[in-house]
């Protein structure tokens, strides 16, 4: 599946997806649940702003010293008996993995959920080699069974499907005979996949964070599937985006806590596994052979630019869960495995403006995403930068700036308000803060907080904008 998940134009996708009432209801309720859980988890932890600031400084430090830490990681993993392959492109990464799989005579490949393997189109390459590739994350497994339906959310990939649809997929593909109760569906997946785990040749996982000091790879799941994928097959391949690394276990801990709280509102997920190379002498389980593939695939060209901060991302989807535009158009409209605000920033950087120039306009610049980000990526500012680049440097805009400003409504008028608000917020907003969100700002901030607390106004603005866009604002 590569990063791009459809050929449809953004406009057509939005039209189609806005008709999907189940999807839109599911997205709205999932957003609400995940958002609330995140806010509760942040409140319970306390000092949330301080944690975010610490997360931000760790991520910035790592990016600015990425050569050092990647070097250290590779040294330490090699000492543990692991193999490390630095891949400049998706093709180099998939080529190496194909060689490893073929060298082991691998036929059955089990995978734990990994966005970067989607990005490099790994499954397709291995399937062309004649391998059976099985996704083990329940959501990904459902999508794979359903003729490779693309993911619509980076944490909950099958969010757009209801349980009746899932039951129908299971009935057709797995001879499932039970009801649409989630417990029964999950139990069936457990039993089916358990046999696959026991007979797989190769396990492939992503990497939430690598740990440079020890040459370790950290995996975060709730289902326990990454643990099984790295426990039972004799050969393990880990694929990591080159920026997903921390200096030591101490920073690992901080970022894992930010990730699990921001993604699903849990203090920690059920399974966090730190793997340091292959099994040791005398160990019975764990892989005999361990390969780490470190993927650039366009990331290095973001370093040193005004967009560098997007590489701070820890893939929690908190920004997606607060985005009023995502709420209305769903994940598939973005045409990318990375949807929502983070996707609208990252996808054009990795995939180019030719295919993805519409995405930075899929935003009301309301800043809810920036507010939610646990590592303080200024997402709405980066979206605005994209628009500037598209207009000023690339000389093309999917819609005119003027029209965008007018149609978004928030545009120019809200920017000074936002700037004032963000400067004053820390000092002034304490009395008005509820669940770590400013809900009732005083005086001149009132308009600002009304917009930020209630996504509803944005909804109509996006639709107004979209109407204008369709009427002929497009492709100017």
């Amino acid at each position: 599946m590569a990063m791009k998940i459809g050929e449809g134009k953004f406009k057509e996708n939005v039209n189609k997806n806005m008709e999907d009432t189940f999807m839109r209801g599911a997205v709205a309720s999932a957003q609400e649940r995940l958002r609330t859980r995140r806010l509760d988890a942040a409140e319970e932890l306390g000092n949330w702003e301080e944690w975010r600031s610490h997360g931000e400084e760790i991520r910035q430090h790592v990016l600015n010293n990425l050569d050092y830490y990647l070097h250290e990681l590779a040294e330490n993993l090699q000492k543990r008996g692991g193999h490390v392959f630095f891949a400049a492109t998706a093709d180099e990464a998939t080529g190496y993995i194909r060689e490893v799989v073929n060298a082991k005579g691998g036929k059955k490949v089990l995978k734990a959920k990994s966005m970067v393997t989607e990005e490099i189109g790994l499954n397709q390459v291995l399937e062309e080699e004649g391998c059976t590739v099985i996704e083990t994350d329940l959501g990904e497994y459902i999508l794979q069974l359903d003729e490779h339906d693309p993911p619509s959310h980076i944490v909950a990939p099958a969010l757009h499907k209801n349980k009746e649809q899932i039951r129908d997929v299971f009935s057709e593909k797995l001879e499932y005979k039970m009801t649409s109760k989630p417990e029964e569906l999950a139990l069936h997946a457990r039993e089916t996949l358990r046999q696959e785990f026991l007979t797989a040749d190769i396990g492939i996982t992503g990497c939430n964070f690598a740990i440079a000091e020890s040459g370790s790879v950290g995996l975060v799941t709730n289902e326990g599937n990454a643990g099984l994928v790295s426990d039972l097959p004799k050969t393990q391949v880990v694929v990591m985006g080159m920026e997903r690394i921390v200096p030591t276990f101490e920073e690992f801990e901080v970022l894992v806590g930010l990730l699990t709280r921001s993604a699903v509102g849990q203090k920690l997920t059920s399974y966090i596994t730190a793997l340091s190379g292959p099994r040791e002498e005398g160990d019975v389980d764990g892989p005999e052979e361990f390969h780490l593939v470190i993927v650039d695939n366009g990331r290095s060209s973001i370093l040193g630019t005004e967009f560098q901060s997007v590489l701070q991302c820890i893939r929690c989807a908190a920004c997606i869960n607060v985005c009023p535009v995502y709420r209305h158009i769903g994940g598939h409209s973005y045409n990318s495995i990375y949807p929502g605000p983070i996707g609208a920033v990252l996808t054009p950087l990795l995939g180019g403006y030719d295919d993805f120039k519409d995405l930075p306009y899929a935003s009301t610049l309301c800043a809810a995403c920036t507010d939610a980000c646990p590592v303080k990526i200024p997402l709405h500012e980066l979206l605005h930068k994209h628009r500037q680049v598209i207009v000023e440097r690339e000389g093309r805009a999917p819609i005119s700036e003027k029209l965008a400003m007018k149609a978004f409504g928030l545009g120019a008028a809200s920017n000074p308000m936002y700037a004032a608000g963000s400067k004053m917020a820390a000092a002034m907003m304490k009395p008005f803060t509820k669940n770590d969100r400013i809900s009732n700002g005083p005086g001149p901030l009132k308009a600002w907080t009304e917009i930020r607390e209630f996504p509803a106004p944005n909804k109509e603005r996006f639709r107004d904008w979209f109407k204008e866009y369709e009427k002929g604002g497009g492709n100017q």
């Binding site: 490390v84 289902e223 901080v254 399974y271 596994t273």
Partner: protein, 236 residues
């Protein structure tokens, strides 16, 4: 083997606008350290209370007992979870905590199958764990805030014992309880810095496995255990 590292890192450094640095360790001067003041003022009993509350959120039964009563409590918990087959680590703590009689006499007499991890038996250990109704391990470190047991793998302490059986029981010596993941991370990092070889697998396990991938409904028990219990025991 390390492939293509030089060209890759040279490019990274070039994009960052400087020459490559692989020798000088970067200074980490953090401006913020919220972890130093999170739960660090709690007494052991207060931490136990934090753990107790957290277990209610993670679908995990918490049982508190003394060293004298541990064997009885473990036996009844195993019965409650449907008995054997049982997989356990090869771990001196089972003897130290007075469980030798239960494991070597009581259960065999009751025809409860118990398989102790034994590297000499190779992959048979995995097959046993896969068949097991219950896996039992000690906790190497226990994180009160999140309700997490930290498991350090070794040749006698297979990863599969906490993952493959239908239910999982962790025995938590009270002295292993620390405030949160911060303290475990510091301990692991200390070992790394001291030049020790850390285990090839460190698992942070927090209750049973679960998923919310179907309409955001929480389902407890997906790939790993369906049920989990922690038995906290006063140290002997």
């Amino acid at each position: 083997m390390i492939h293509h590292r030089d060209s890759f890192l040279t490019n990274v450094a070039r994009q960052l606008g400087r020459s490559r640095n692989t020798n000088v360790k970067p200074e980490r001067n953090w401006q913020f350290r919220p972890q130093d003041k999170t739960l660090t003022d709690k007494t052991p009993n207060e931490l136990l209370a934090v753990l107790r509350d957290q277990c209610q959120l993670i679908h995990t039964e918490l049982i508190e007992t003394t060293g004298e009563k541990l064997a009885g409590v473990l036996e009844s918990t195993v019965n409650l979870y449907g008995g054997g087959p049982i997989s356990i680590w090869q771990d001196a703590r089972f003897e130290e905590f007075g469980l030798g009689g239960l494991i070597n006499s009581t259960w065999p007499e009751q025809k409860v199958e118990v398989n102790e991890w034994n590297a000499a038996r190779g992959r048979k250990n995995i097959a046993d764990a896969e068949r097991a109704n219950i896996g039992i391990t000690f906790s190497d470190m226990t994180l009160a805030e999140s309700g997490t047991v930290v498991l350090f793998s070794s040749s006698g302490k297979g990863r599969s014992v906490s993952l493959l059986p239908r239910s999982y029981i962790a025995i938590i010596p009270k002295s292993t309880i620390v405030p949160r993941m911060t303290q475990a991370a510091q301990e692991i990092s200390r070992r790394v810095q001291a030049g020790e070889t850390i285990p090839s697998c460190i698992n942070f396990v927090t209750g049973p496995s679960n998923s919310a991938d179907i309409e955001m409904n929480l389902v407890v028990g997906v790939h790993g255990p369906v049920k989990a219990a922690y038995i906290v025991v006063e140290d002997r």
